[in-house]
Symmetry: C2
Subunit: 215 residues, 2 copies
Amino acid sequence: MSHTVGVRQARKQKTRQALLDAALGLLEEQSLSSLGLREVTRTVGIAPTAFYRHFRDLGELGVALVEEALDSLHAMVRTVLIEQAGVEAQIESAVAVIDRHVREYPAHVRFVARERHGGVRAVRQAIADQLERFGAEVAEALATQPTAQGWAERDLRMLADLFVDRLVTTAAAILDTEGAEDAEAARARVVEAARWQLRLIAIGQQHWRGEAGEG
Amino acid sequence: MSHTVGVRQARKQKTRQALLDAALGLLEEQSLSSLGLREVTRTVGIAPTAFYRHFRDLGELGVALVEEALDSLHAMVRTVLIEQAGVEAQIESAVAVIDRHVREYPAHVRFVARERHGGVRAVRQAIADQLERFGAEVAEALATQPTAQGWAERDLRMLADLFVDRLVTTAAAILDTEGAEDAEAARARVVEAARWQLRLIAIGQQHWRGEAGEG
DNA sequence: CGATTCGGAGGACAGTTGTTCACTCACTTC
DNA sequence: GAAGTGAGTGAACAACTGTCCTCCGAATCG
């Protein structure tokens, strides 16, 4: 048997992946809106027109890259927040996950950081959607914690967004340490600062008391 | 008299400014690395070659834009932090300054957000330098506050960076509310969230106690 | 086995790009 | 008032871009 449903389909996905990889590589030193279709197909080694068999344009390829970049991280962060008990342990492990992710997929992280506010609307939207999902999940995870009992859903969400933004900023900051002299030391400093800042935020949460403000 | 030392130099700076303005406008919907030299000169209404009288290349123009974008904000934030007494008042006024700045110079803010991690090294570096200066000044301002007495310089700097990053992220978030339905309400929500988050950070600071950690 | 599908090749198209060079001509300087 | 400076011009360059069209040939399907 093994009629291998798709020698053809397999080949197609292979070159599709090659297109994504080539684009990701080229995007390390430019942004998506300046990337050329021919540039990509050339480094893959196929004819320019073959590109259209896979994506309508480079924006569509960019959206595919966003999913590829954030899907893996998504699962990891999720398990981290659910499994670990205790704020301190969660912070430690969340930072470790980010650090490892940046080390393993630097190009993906750079791409997201660069295109988050980049020149292609569809890609910006895709990234915003993913980060929105992150925020929602972190808020949900926080809700199960004893330190968050009695908190309004809205406040939990703002707190979650604070955590997420800090992690994203940290990832970008880690990337920026590349190229600096003694990059590894600079990286360690950034990671340590992130831990410190997250801890301070957690302390702020513990001592938060409704606080007058609005009605 | 009035020998007007520089009818010529005045003209030059005028078209130089026109180049900056045109570029800033075009950069609202693309990133610097995809901006064309001819594109800019065309919208200004001068010959492509005239560009070289003002900038070596678009990267140099980008660096000039960074200074133009962050210099004004620089002075404002500085006075805010020094004049106001009390954390709450400082937060309120810092958020107000950011909000106003984004409203007055949306294109500048978008440019900085976009090119902070963009594809042009020189511009990234220029932005990083400016943000570094912001962090240092905020740390210096924090040091004069009673709540920060006895704090290590290093911790103050990490705290300052946390504030600065939050403000930058807030500025970008405010921009993203444009185009949403009921944009003004979305904007108000972002601003309010920023206030809330900054307040929480301030509370974290107040309750921070050396905290074991490292020697 | 024959018919069909479809990923990819290759040529051609009109536009656009950055940079060069020699040039003009209003301003500045002596 | 003559000489010099320098911002801006305009033509020309080779190189590149995205997209259209026709075609090929191997994997699929009946």
